[in-house]
């Protein structure tokens, strides 16, 4: 049986006052894309820093490909590509020099691969780092993480600051990398992102892993706030909307209807198929709203 790409056992980092990460038991298989989902301050970055050997655990252990993340941290880094939660400062170095500098620490950057990545993300490496926008800094972080074809990618909110087109390109790169045999551990606070990119998702809240969900369960978890506006004077199919599967919390006001949709949109769209709809807006709720909804029927399961 292949060794797990990531294995943690009761991994804890206690910063006091209830902050940190507590008793994380996690196993990520090789070639899996694992999402680590949680609101801000939930412990995602702490987990990642523990895996990278940047902070020492208060208790428990973490292994990457069977190597201890603290004791064997140099060997671990040979197998890992990393995008930090916040890109560092490289002052007046040019992008090309940052790549050469950090690539040099790995024995030299793969020039062709870097060129391909930079072209793909339209990242001008001749510009100085201080001149880069936050999106370009993030692109450089992605180039640095992927430039040595690592076996494991640990990505801390890698799409923050990227525009939607570049995000699509990044998701495509993730797929190609996974197909190339790499494992990916990706943290995010956006449900739709992990739903799109990941095989499984660990949901962390207040420093504790509260659930590991597969894609089906994610679909069940997610819901949308929907607002529908009908043409003035037109019939509003309120009964049909209320009767549609997965539609809840229906509130009607004049020719506007607001509701919550869990799971598929199909029943709602079917209910309004004959009405004159002038506008339909769907909002993805915050992760915290999703948690509250998820635990509404089982409040004792909600971690403190």
């Amino acid at each position: 049986m292949a060794v797990a790409a990531i294995h943690t056992a009761r991994l804890s980092k206690d910063y006091g006052l209830g902050r940190g990460l507590f008793e994380l038991d996690l196993q990520v298989s090789q070639q899996e894309v694992f999402g680590f989902l949680g609101p801000n301050g939930a412990g995602k970055s702490t987990t990642i820093r523990l895996l990278m050997g940047l902070v020492r655990p208060t208790a428990g252990s973490a292994h990457i490909f069977g190597l201890d993340c603290i004791r064997d941290y140099v060997e671990v880094k040979k197998k890992v590509g990393y995008v930090p939660g916040e890109m560092p400062q490289f002052g007046s170095l040019r992008g090309s020099e940052v790549v050469a500098y950090l690539g040099g620490m790995r024995g030299g950057a793969d020039v062709r691969l870097v060129r391909g990545l930079a072209e793909r993300f339209n990242l001008d490496l001749s510009r100085r780092y201080r001149e880069y926008s936050s999106g370009n800094k993030q692109k450089l972080g992605i180039v640095l993480a992927f430039m040595h074809r690592p076996q494991l990618l640990i990505l801390d909110e890698p799409t923050s600051g990227l525009d939607p087109l570049i995000q699509q390109e990044f998701y495509a790169l993730l797929n190609e990398t996974r197909e190339g045999g790499a494992t990916i551990f990706l943290s995010s606070h956006i449900l739709s992102e992990v739903e799109r990119a990941c095989d499984r998702v660990g949901i962390v809240r207040a420093g504790r892993l509260v659930r590991i969900a597969d894609l089906d369960e994610l679909h069940r978890i997610r819901f949308h706030h929907v607002e529908i506006e009908f043409a003035t004077g037109a019939r509003v199919p309120l009964d049909a909307i209320k009767a549609a599967a997965g539609v809840e919390d229906v509130v009607a006001e004049d020719h506007r209807v607001a509701c919550t949709v869990k799971g598929s949109f199909e029943p709602l769209l079917h209910a309004i198929r004959d009405a004159k709809v002038t506008n339909l807006v769907s909002h993805e709720p915050s992760l915290e709203e999703i948690f509250l909804e998820y635990y509404r029927d089982a409040p004792r399961a909600l971690p403190s």
Partner: protein, 540 residues
């Protein structure tokens, strides 16, 4: 009001630091006067004549003293001459940080987004600096009063306050001039350009004491107006007109800065040349230097190393010229020997050169170590260390590479400086022992490393406070050696200073004990820093 308080909070460490420095400099010079000037009128007259001769050779840097036979005249000359330079440097750093540094950090955008007007921002920053400079200058006045009281004499409190007022006017003027320059230059060039302008203004004033053709230009420089006041000197006073000119210059410059700020884009200078468009490049930098440990860091810092090397080499050569110019006339004045006997032992030329060149160079090398430690500390706080450690490099390797880089840099600077001194000494017909000169230069390496490894240890434990703590340590260490002979401090106090461990290699050869202690400190520091680095959390 809120913006001013915020600006004061941003500058609180500068206020505390320069307040402390002002207090110490004035206190120690006032108290030191009674140790070196003698007690009878005749002794003090002789002392004043010696100081006059000495100052004549330093007129390029400081104005000639007035009534150096009095504590007021002596403190005005020695303390306020130095404080004028120190406050100008503070104004430069503070204004360029407020105008462009905070812009780079996003603070300016945040303040403007909160509804503060651009004029309000400039006014609040300038106002906060006025308050800060006043606090620091008043600390200097307090030092004067306490120091004079320690000698059983008294000095007018009004005079001490006037001295503070003149100092604040100069500092605020330099601050405002820097603010204007920062609006016109790129963020990267703001500090160097403003520094060059202030240096030019300083030199116009000081060199005009030697070169008459510069006299017409003197009204342009704030240092000229500052020197018109000598409130601490008996029968001296604050030159109200000159001080008002300084205030008017400050107001005019601040207004110009506000107008320029209003019309420029945040993040860009008011005037900039259009950048020619060029195709994007997707290529990795090809220099081999990026792949070699130690070399990559030296390569990245090549400009800074060049500046330090050329600067210290030039300074070394200048000190040789000064040594010749000063010692020759000094040898004809028997009365001066007593003043220097506290500092100089042995052959006069190498002793004097060792005192002024190595004394100053030691301080600069310690300052160089502080800049390197500040760099390490910044790498920690801005996430670069985290990024580096995501590569397969050991933490011990990071510490060792940093120390080796510092050693190589110190070696380059010291070797070139030593060579420059040797060449100029040969030209000036000053006989220097080649071996001792080489030893003196090379000893600067372990000396620099002592502060470097202490800084490395501090950076591993208290990264945010490292620079401040190390700066205080350097300053205290330096003051100990400078003042211990004057105040006859116990030997163990002097021995605790790294400056003392360096010894007097130019006249007495290498102090083996001091060298061994420095090497032990460096080795212990590297081991301790490595152990702490291995166990500490990064980026937490």
């Amino acid at each position: 009001m809120v913006a001013s308080l915020f600006a004061l909070r941003l500058g609180r460490w500068g206020i505390a630091g320069f307040g402390g420095i002002s207090f110490l400099i004035t206190l120690l010079n006032a108290a030191g006067f009674y140790q070196v000037a003698g007690h009878t009128p005749a002794e003090r007259q002789a002392f004043a004549r010696s100081i006059d001769v000495l100052a004549a050779n330093f007129s390029v840097i400081v104005p000639p003293p007035i009534r150096a036979d009095t504590v007021g005249g002596y403190v005005q000359f020695r303390a306020y001459g130095a404080l004028a330079i120190a406050f100008a440097i503070w104004a430069l750093a503070s204004a360029s940080g407020a105008a462009r540094g905070d812009e780079e950090r996003g603070i300016v955008q945040a303040v403007l987004a909160a509804g503060t007007s651009r004029l309000g921002l400039i006014a609040s920053r300038a106002g906060a600096f006025v308050i800060g400079a006043t606090i620091a200058a008043l600390a200097g006045s307090a030092g004067v009063l306490v120091g004079v009281a320690s000698g059983g004499e008294s000095i007018s409190a009004a005079a001490a306050l006037e001295a503070a007022l003149a100092l604040v006017a100069l500092a605020v003027c330099c601050y405002s001039l820097t603010l204007v320059i920062c609006q016109l230059t790129s963020a990267r060039g703001a500090t160097p350009v403003a520094g060059a302008v202030l240096l030019a203004l300083f030199l116009i004033n000081s060199l005009s004491r030697t070169f008459d053709w510069l006299i017409p230009w003197r009204p342009l420089t704030p240092f000229h107006y500052f020197e018109q006041s000598s409130p601490l000197v008996p029968d001296g006073s604050l030159d109200v007109r000159a001080t008002l000119v300084l205030v008017a210059m400050a107001i005019a410059a601040s207004a110009l800065a506000a107008i320029a700020f209003r019309y420029r884009d945040v993040g860009s200078p008011l005037l900039s040349l259009p950048t020619p468009s060029r195709p994007a490049s997707y290529e990795v930098a090809r220099s081999l230097a990026w792949r070699i440990p130690v070399v990559r860091e030296l390569y990245e810092q090549r400009i800074a190393i060049l500046v330090w090397t050329v600067g210290l080499a030039t300074l070394g050569a200048i000190f040789v010229v000064l040594t010749k110019a000063i010692v020759d006339p000094l040898l004809t004045i028997p009365g001066l020997a007593r003043y220097f006997s506290a500092f100089i032992h042995g052959d006069v030329y190498p002793s004097f050169l060792g005192f002024i060149w190595l004394g100053f160079t030691q301080l600069l090398m310690a300052g160089f170590a502080v800049t390197q430690v500040a760099r390490w500390s910044a790498q920690d706080s801005d996430g670069r260390l985290e990024q580096v450690l995501s590569s397969p490099v050991s933490r011990a390797g990071v510490v060792i590479e940093r120390v080796v880089v510092l050693a190589v840099e110190a070696l380059i600077i010291a070797a070139v400086s030593g060579f420059a001194v040797w060449t100029e000494a040969h030209y000036q017909s000053i006989d220097l022992d080649r071996g001792r000169l080489a030893a003196a230069a090379l000893l600067l390496v372990p000396f620099t490393l002592v502060f470097g490894v202490i800084g490395a240890l501090l950076a591993s434990r208290i990264p945010r406070a490292t620079v401040g703590v190390l700066g205080i340590l350097v300053f205290a260490s330096y003051l100990t050696t400078q003042l211990a002979p004057i105040f006859r401090l116990p030997t163990w106090v002097q021995d605790a200073s790294a400056f003392k461990l360096y010894g007097q290699p130019l006249t007495a050869g290498v102090d083996q004990t001091g060298l061994v202690i420095m090497i032990v400190i460096v080795m212990a520091g590297v081991v301790a820093s490595t152990l702490v680095m291995e166990r500490r959390d990064i980026g937490a």
